[in-house]
């Protein structure tokens, strides 16, 4: 059986939806960060898939994905550093309590 593009895109959509769901419903900042990574990975997957099926001659999507993974790693490091600092100052990582940046 030949795998069509749909076989890759559907899991990607599921991953993205799970990410959104997790981002909106979780209260723990770490869980939110994980959800974020899920969404990011689904986007990376899309890049690769579209590159593979639509523009088989080029490598742009692949290279872009490699960069995105690297940047996502760096970003995660920063996010965790922020979360640790928040934990140190307010004693927990409940996102509903972090609402000082408002009007």
């Amino acid at each position: 059986m030949d795998l069509s593009m749909l076989w890759y895109l559907v899991p990607s959509v599921v991953m993205f939806a799970c990410g959104i769901y997790g981002f909106v419903t979780r209260k723990n900042l770490i869980a939110i960060l994980i959800s974020l990574e899920l969404m990011l990975n689904s986007a990376d997957l899309n890049f690769v898939v579209f590159n593979r099926f639509l523009f088989p001659g080029s490598m742009d999507g692949m290279v872009f994905t490699l960069f995105a993974i690297a940047i996502a790693a760096a970003e995660t490091a920063i996010a965790i550093a922020i979360i640790i600092n928040i934990y140190r100052s307010i004693g927990n990582t409940d996102v509903t309590e972090i609402n000082k940046m408002k009007f």
């Binding site: 959104i20 909106v24 996102v95 509903t96 609402n99 408002k102 009007f103």
Partner: protein, 647 residues
């Protein structure tokens, strides 16, 4: 003519103003005074050289076939707004500007000298000299203006100098309000002047005096017979320009500032409010004279305003106590005299006799002689005030024994203004009256009556100050003649007032430059002389020795006396109009509109913005998950719309 001298005439006073104004605080009073006097003295000498060159050199630029020419020494473009709207700055030499150069620099120099004694030890002495220099500069610039716009600029500058000098004693509330009053009233009049200038130049496409005055018919033709509210546009323009002159020259109903302007130092009154600045209006009419000649209505307007003002001011002067105010009203009256004289002067033969501008020559002659003897009278009044420390004649009386120099010079001034032969005023007044009689007997008779009143009130003041009875205060504080710096100008101006009448003025200054041979009109001269002598005799009978007659006369009609003393309530009328009508009714309505319509609209905008912001600020909750929720909702909405659009 080389342009160095004319430039220097203007440059020295303005440099003095800058030097004394900026560096004055570092100078001693003496140095500032000497600098000011030397600067003005040099200017006077240069002005004399220029004027004498103009009148007597016989250069073809100045006099051609016996006709004096208008000569622009220089005329450079200063501001070019468009192709046609160009403002020049220049130096125009013609009979009247040369004459005014002499008058201004002479009086200004005398006043500079006199002030050295009069203002001695006053705080702000350097500032005073700086302002005097500024005034001299502005006035000189005004008279030599080549175009009406330059004149307007300097016209405003003299207004500012006048404001600064009236308010020189800025700690006195009365001086401050007087300076404000002078500035506002003249500024109001200058609005008319400006509109007049714009109207005129709109049709003629030029500001230049020479262009306009050499071709008045062209000016008339350029308006193309346009009319506005029943009068031709040119009439409106000329009347509006005259309005500016009315403000500066204190014609009714804009005369109210001049009596109050006497709050300034007395030498300033002599220079600005008697001899030079207040005749700027007369000078303006004389400058535009050929154009006025083709506008009969404007000429009649000038005549009527002048005649009313002359009579009014003369009557009011009879009931004043403050000697400076008497002189102020006398100035108003005399300037009005000149105005009438210009107004009756026509470039048209009257009943076959070609009087072409006799009144013009006479008016200018009177301007010249009046400047001399009125400056003399004011400086004399300054000496009196200096001696008794009061402006009122009630503090004076019997001063002739204590102040002989002041007495003699003051008497000369009074005789000159009353028009007694051989003093200067006689000749000029005789010419003016001759011109008025030539036009219509009514003007002549009316102004002869004013001349009689003039003689009466001047000698009323003279007798009350120098005769009457001695003030008991003299025992404790003996009055004495002023120091030499003050006496010298008095003596000089007194001498000038005696001989100025013999100047062959008609040979020098006429409206078209052709010489006019002055000859005394015997009936007119005899009438005015008899009237003046009778008036002086009446004044002598009433005021020479202390008696009850003046009180009796006053009590015959106290209402009239009070009305005249209160200047026929003009100030009250102005207060009523400005406060009760303009402030209370018109301005209140405008203020209501401003507060409730304009401000309220702006407030409404602000309020709506604020309310909306409060209503929607809940979106900025600071909770990251709600932002995500909004974002997703938005993204879904955009996607939905895009999708709907695509299918």
């Amino acid at each position: 003519m080389d342009i160095t001298l004319p430039i220097l005439i203007l440059a020295i006073p303005i440099t003095m103003f800058l030097v004394l104004g900026i560096g004055g605080v570092k100078m001693s009073h003496k140095l500032a005074g000497i600098l000011g006097i030397l600067g003005m003295g040099t200017t006077a000498v240069l002005a004399y050289i220029v004027a004498f060159t103009y009148f007597f050199s016989g250069d073809a630029n100045f006099i051609l076939d016996g006709v004096r020419q208008q000569y622009q020494v220089f005329d450079v473009t200063w501001l070019a707004f468009t192709q046609t709207l160009v403002v020049n700055i220049g130096f125009l030499l013609d009979p009247i500007s040369a004459m005014m150069l002499v008058v201004i620099t002479t009086i200004s120099f005398m006043v500079h000298l006199y002030s050295w004694g009069y203002m001695e030890g006053e705080p702000g002495f350097q500032r005073y000299y700086a302002f005097l220099s500024l005034f001299s500069f502005s006035m000189l610039g005004l008279v030599v203006a080549t175009n009406i716009f330059q004149m307007y600029i300097f016209w405003e500058l003299v207004g500012v100098s006048s404001y600064l000098l009236i308010g020189f004693f800025y700690k006195l509330p009365s001086a401050v309000s007087a300076s404000k009053k002078a500035f506002i009233v003249t500024r109001f009049a200058d609005l008319g002047f400006l509109i007049g200038i714009l109207l005129l130049s709109f049709y003629t496409d030029t500001f230049n005096f020479v262009d306009m005055t050499t071709n008045p018919e062209g000016v008339l033709a350029s308006t193309g017979g346009a009319t506005f509210m029943g009068a031709s546009v040119l009439t409106w323009a000329m009347v509006l320009i005259f309005t500016g002159g009315m403000g500066k020259s204190a014609m009714m109903p804009l005369h109210i500032w001049l009596p109050d302007a006497m709050e300034g130092p007395t030498p300033v009154s002599a220079l600005i409010h008697a001899a030079t600045m207040v005749v700027a209006g007369v000078y303006l009419v004389a400058r535009m004279f050929p154009v006025y000649c083709v506008v009969d209505a404007a000429m009649t307007f000038i005549c009527v305003i002048g005649a009313i003002t002359a009579f009014y001011a003369a009557v009011v002067a009879c009931a004043q106590i403050d000697i400076k105010r008497i002189l102020a009203f006398s100035t108003i009256s005399q300037i009005a005299f000149m105005m009438v004289s210009l107004g009756v002067a026509y470039d048209k033969p009257i009943e076959g006799v070609h009087y072409s501008g006799l009144g013009y020559m006479a008016g200018m002659f009177h301007l010249f002689t009046h400047a001399m003897f009125k400056a003399l009278l004011f400086l004399g009044a300054g000496a009196l005030i200096h001696a008794v420390h009061s402006n009122n004649y009630t503090s004076m009386g019997g001063l002739r024994k204590y102040m002989p120099i002041t007495h003699v010079t003051f008497l000369i001034g009074c005789l000159a203004i009353a028009g007694i032969w051989p003093f200067a005023g006689f000749f000029s007044k005789d010419e003016m009256l001759a011109a008025m009689f030539a036009r219509h007997w009514f003007w002549g008779a009316w102004m002869t009556m004013v001349a009689g009143l003039t003689a009466f009130y001047m000698f009323r003041m003279y007798f009350l100050v120098f005769w009457w009875e001695e003030n008991p205060h003299y025992k404790e504080h003996k009055p004495h003649d002023a120091p030499w710096q003050m006496s010298l100008p008095l003596i000089f101006l007194g001498a000038v007032s005696i001989v100025a009448g013999f100047i062959p003025f008609g040979e020098l200054v006429t409206w078209n430059g052709e010489p006019y041979h002055i000859h005394i009109e015997a009936p007119v001269a005899a009438t005015s002389l008899v009237v003046a002598v009778c008036a002086i005799a009446l004044a002598a009978a009433m005021y020479m020795k202390k008696n009850a007659l003046p009180t009796k006369v006053k009590n015959m009609c106290p209402a009239l006396w009070t009305a005249a003393h209160r200047r026929f309530y003009w100030d009250e009328i102005y207060m009523f109009i400005t406060h009760r009508i303009i402030f209370d009714i018109i301005c209140k309505g405008i203020a209501w509109f401003d507060r409730h319509i304009i401000d309220a609209t702006m407030d409404a905008f602000a309020k709506i913005t604020q309310k909306t912001s409060y209503a929607i600020r809940g979106m900025q909750s600071g909770e990251i998950q709600s932002y995500v929720g909004w974002y997703i909702a938005g993204a879904v909405a955009v996607a939905a719309i895009t999708w709907l659009c695509l299918i």
